[in-house]
């Protein structure tokens, strides 16, 4: 599909409509895995389709299809029109009054080394070599080294004058082991499933390395003989691998505008955040500065425009602890009377755009990691998310990590296993008492943020340094 044809399709079928857009997506993906020394069968996927969106006489409708013949596309327009007509008298909003973006642009993911600079077999051999290292010890009962590559080309044209063309390359390296001894099992991984970034072959090389393989295996064996994390109320330092999850679940989701507007109440939930909090609510301590930044190079969810053609910009969502603005796209922004950001996103051509966080980052502070640790008399350092659970208003949470070390007298001490902690989003961020500097920032990303009806699991990126929280409820296994 070329841009010229897409524009022609729009022109041929959109007459008389208040608004119409056509969004095209082509996605190619590859999946390579070596599990405990055995090459798992290689898998590739190609998907291509369009979604037509119509706003007319107050109603809205969409239709999506993988059949790109002229007759099928014509049918898609008819279906979208029918839905707009059917909903014109019973829509939650007068969609014809929404001023849809008029924006043009292009984007291409940065890449240091082309993904195809090695063959598939060479990549498999790389994974296999690392896998042999991972499984070396007899107490390692399972292991995997995997990489997924996704390439996407998207185009969007609209009657409001938008034309956007974007080309993406994503790489998700994952690596992990399970160790077992005496009835106890522990797991240790490279960033769980959150190591995704935009880029090329360099992401595979940086992620699936012998050095990381040795580290993961050693730490798993440490965990196997380590005592359980103690049950205490104490200071807590979280590494970027866990900060990612903390930011995601207890900042990102609660401030999604469609949740606040009630759209997600049947599934993903609502929010403890209310509209009157923006501009004044003390979300966190003075150390909490959170930005929304799809313009960040290499981060997993970077783009130039969202899926309704709003141009991406960096903005503060929380500054010096004060909640400034929600995460809402053009339609939610109109419904709520709030300024919108470029976060109206769809996982593919088969799903309509809804409010989705993209890159949500905690801005670095001024302390070194050593200074943060030195400031803790008694506490725990936790690394890499393992478990996550939070209530439907995004307030009461409980999270678990893979690996932890005690902190005593300002120094890191012994390893402890099964570290968990729980709290309330409303108060947790006010206990933030230190943010490490830029040298500790890691940009991570996961493709598994689930939300929406129909459901969508989308890519998100989160960059964060290490952070220190005071007096948190911490516990281990029973």
């Amino acid at each position: 599909m070329q841009l010229e044809r897409l524009n022609r399709i729009l022109k041929d079928h959109s007459s008389g409509l208040d608004f119409c857009s056509v969004r095209y997506l082509e996605q190619k993906s590859q999946s390579l895995t070596v599990r405990h020394g055995v090459v798992v069968p290689y898998h590739e996927s190609i998907s291509e389709g369009i979604m037509v969106t119509v706003h007319n006489h107050g109603g809205m409708g969409y239709a999506a299809t993988a059949d790109l013949t002229d007759s099928s596309i014509k049918r898609a327009f008819e279906q979208a029109r029918e839905w707009a007509a059917a909903s014109s008298q019973c829509s939650i909003e007068n969609f014809s009054k929404v001023e849809m973006p008029s924006s043009k642009g292009t984007y291409q993911s940065p890449e240091k080394k082309p993904w195809n600079s090695t063959t598939i077999q060479e990549k498999v051999e790389h994974l296999r070599k690392v896998s042999e290292l991972l499984k070396k010890h007899p107490d390692i009962v399972d292991s995997h080294a995997s990489v997924s590559r996704i390439e996407e080309r998207t185009m969007l044209v609209s009657t409001s004058g938008s034309q956007v063309e974007q080309i993406f390359g994503f790489v998700i390296p994952t690596m992990g082991v399970t160790a077992h001894k005496g009835g106890e099992s522990v797991s240790r991984s490279l960033d769980g499933f959150i190591g995704g970034r935009q880029g090329g072959h360099e992401v595979l090389e940086e992620g699936i390395s012998e050095a990381y393989a040795h580290q993961i295996q050693e730490e798993a064996l440490e965990l196997l003989v380590a005592p359980d994390c103690p049950t205490v109320t104490a200071d807590l330092i979280l590494d970027p691998g866990q900060m990612m999850l903390q930011i995601h679940e207890s900042i990102g989701h609660p401030i999604e505008l469609d949740r606040i507007l009630g759209d997600e109440r049947n599934y993903a939930g609502t929010s403890f955040v209310t509209m009157d909090m923006f501009g004044k609510f003390q979300y966190g301590s003075k150390y909490l500065n959170v930005t929304y930044d799809p313009t960040q190079k290499n981060e997993f969810a970077s783009f130039s425009h969202d899926d309704e053609a709003t141009q991406a910009d960096k903005c503060f969502l929380i500054k010096d602890g004060i909640l400034l603005r929600p995460l809402g796209g053009v339609i939610s922004g109109h419904r709520a009377g709030q300024k919108h950001v470029a976060n109206s996103r769809a996982v593919g051509w088969q799903r309509p755009p809804i409010d989705r966080m993209a890159n949500l980052n905690l801005e670095p502070g001024n302390s070194s990691l050593d200074e943060l640790i030195a400031s803790v008399d008694s506490g725990v350092y936790m690394s890499t998310n393992l478990s996550w659970s939070i209530d439907d208003s995004r307030n009461k949470f409980q999270f678990g990590c893979e690996y932890a070390r005690l902190i005593e007298g300002g120094k890191l001490k012994g390893v402890v296993k099964k570290p968990n902690y729980r709290g309330l989003s409303r108060s947790f961020w006010r206990s933030l008492d230190g943010v490490a500097d830029a040298s500790t920032v890691r940009a991570l990303g996961t493709p598994y943020c689930g939300k929406g009806e129909p459901n969508q699991a989308i890519r998100v990126g989160h960059a964060s340094p290490h952070c220190l929280f005071r007096q948190i409820e911490i516990f281990g296994g029973h």
Binding site: V38, V39, P41, Y42, H43, E44, I46, S47, E48, G59, M60, G61, A63, A64, T65, A66, D67, Q79, A80, E82, W83, A86, S87, S91, I92, I120, Q121, V124, V141, D142, T178, E184, S185, V186, S187, L261, G262, D263, R265, N266, Y267, G269, T270, R351, S387, S389, I390, D391, D392, S393, N395, K396, Q398, L424, E453, P454, N455, Q456, G477, H478
Partner: protein, 438 residues
């Protein structure tokens, strides 16, 4: 699409080399989705999504590729041939797969129920007009779902349903709501009206000021929807043979005979109820029933073809995750649930369950929707959301007091990637204790 798919596979088969086998697995749907909020339409649309997974096998080597199958002959033929040529060039360079297992004794089946007695536009109007000003939030999904399998050995399997699901909540106040669902192939407005009327009648009970529950142990009744959440968490690797063999199952201790559930607990994977296809992507026919837990003791695990080959077992599952899980009902009369609970917490739904210690089977999660404080068998007030943290051996074992005499069929309404199939059928359970932590 059925005959088209078989012709497509037959066409591709003609270009195979002598020592090559081709397996094709088709997933298709044309679904109308209508999203509701505050009793009005939020986002309606239609998605037509059809794709096929091609697996090439040659001398114990294999690779697969997923491509669209649009119904446009010229396009599909070109794409399919290109994909097959790609696989033919890649597969010889891969190592032999020691765990490759596929069905080589063709067994063809057909299970098609395509009669659709509903029209999505009419249903949408019925829903909007039937809300009577109530705050209805939810999702309607209706249309045809199809699954197919065919291979170069002549096997043909087809499954199709025209069906709808409506999954919705009626909100009273804040985060308090009644959650309901309705599904089938015959939309009956009276069924929907009856459910709405019932919710409307019960809404005042949710309007009372919510009470906070102090952390501690409480007697609890988990309604079927809440039990379903626990079952769905356990489906995430708990009954998987591969997870068990690699010491990662949440039910490791159960299946190692180191622990048991109550003898009242009987759990089964029950595909006989017909909500799912009986074939998998490697051409195997799945058994209709697999007894997973009998009388509280572990019996069978779910074994995929790959795992079966690795450990020299029989395969009995596609993904090692149950799709139609059932828990046998018990003897507690539904009318007597509150009396039997006495003083405690009635939990209609649980939410966001996860493991706090997977090897020990310890789970945590939140109460959600319509949960109440109960005193002396009477509903007193709704409660603010509470977190629990217990092991499954406590929930299905030492803390289990009774099981309700009736189960509920809870349709799988997940739509990640495509409409999921399956139904979980579970009763409610009365616990003499559940530990609320926050």
């Amino acid at each position: 699409m059925e005959e088209y798919f078989y012709d497509y596979v037959s066409d591709l088969t003609k270009t195979l080399k002598q020592d090559q086998t081709l397996l094709c697995h088709y997933i298709g749907e044309q679904t109308d989705f209508v999203r509701f909020n505050k009793g009005k339409v939020r986002q309606p649309g239609t998605v037509t999504d059809t794709s096929v997974n091609l697996r090439l096998i040659q001398n114990k080597k294999t690779a697969s590729m997923n491509v669209s199958l649009t119904g446009d002959l010229a396009y599909d033929r070109e794409l399919g041939q290109k994909a097959l040529r790609n696989l033919q060039s890649l597969v010889p360079d891969f190592p032999e797969d020691p765990f490759l297992l596929f069905n080589q004794e063709p067994k063809s089946t057909r299970d098609a129920a395509d009669e659709a007695e509903f029209n999505s536009m009419t249903v949408t109007q019925d829903i909007v007009s039937g809300t009577n000003g109530l705050d209805l939030v939810g999702i309607y999904a209706g249309g045809k779902v199809e699954r197919g399998f065919a291979n170069s050995l002549g096997q043909k399997n087809w499954f199709s349903r025209s069906s709808f699901t409506l999954d919705w909540s009626i909100y009273a106040k804040g985060d308090r709501a009644f959650k309901m669902s309705y599904g089938g192939n015959n939309w009956d407005l009276e069924v929907f009206r009856k459910k709405m009327h019932e919710a409307e009648q019960n809404l005042p009970s949710l309007l009372a000021p919510a009470q906070s529950v102090k952390p501690g142990a409480y007697r609890v009744y988990l309604a079927p929807a809440a039990v379903c959440e626990i079952a769905e968490l356990l489906a995430w690797g708990g009954f998987s043979m591969k997870s068990f063999r690699t010491k990662q199952s949440a039910l490791q201790k159960l299946y190692s005979d180191e622990n048991t559930f109550s003898e009242k607990i009987h759990i089964q994977e029950d595909l006989a109820r017909g909500g799912c296809p009986c074939f998998d992507s490697m051409g195997f026919t799945l058994p209709k029933n697999v007894n997973l837990v009998e009388g509280g003791k572990a019996l069978n695990l779910l074994t995929s073809p790959r795992t079966a080959k690795e450990y020299s077992l029989d395969q009995n599952s596609h993904s090692e995750s149950p799709e139609c899980l059932t828990i046998r009902p018990g003897k507690l009369s539904i009318d007597k649930v509150l009396d039997a609970l006495g003083t405690g917490i009635y939990v209609s739904n649980l939410w966001y369950l996860n493991y706090s210690d997977r090897p020990q089977g310890r789970i945590t999660g939140m109460t959600r929707f319509a949960c109440f404080k109960v005193e002396n068998g009477k509903l007193i007030a709704p409660i603010n959301p509470m977190r629990f943290d217990n092991t499954v051996y406590q929930i299905f074992g030492e803390y289990l007091e009774a099981i309700s005499e009736k189960s509920e069929k809870i349709l799988n309404t997940m739509t990640y990637g495509h409409r999921h199939l399956g139904v979980t059928e579970v009763p409610g359970i009365l616990l003499n204790k559940l530990d609320f932590t926050l």
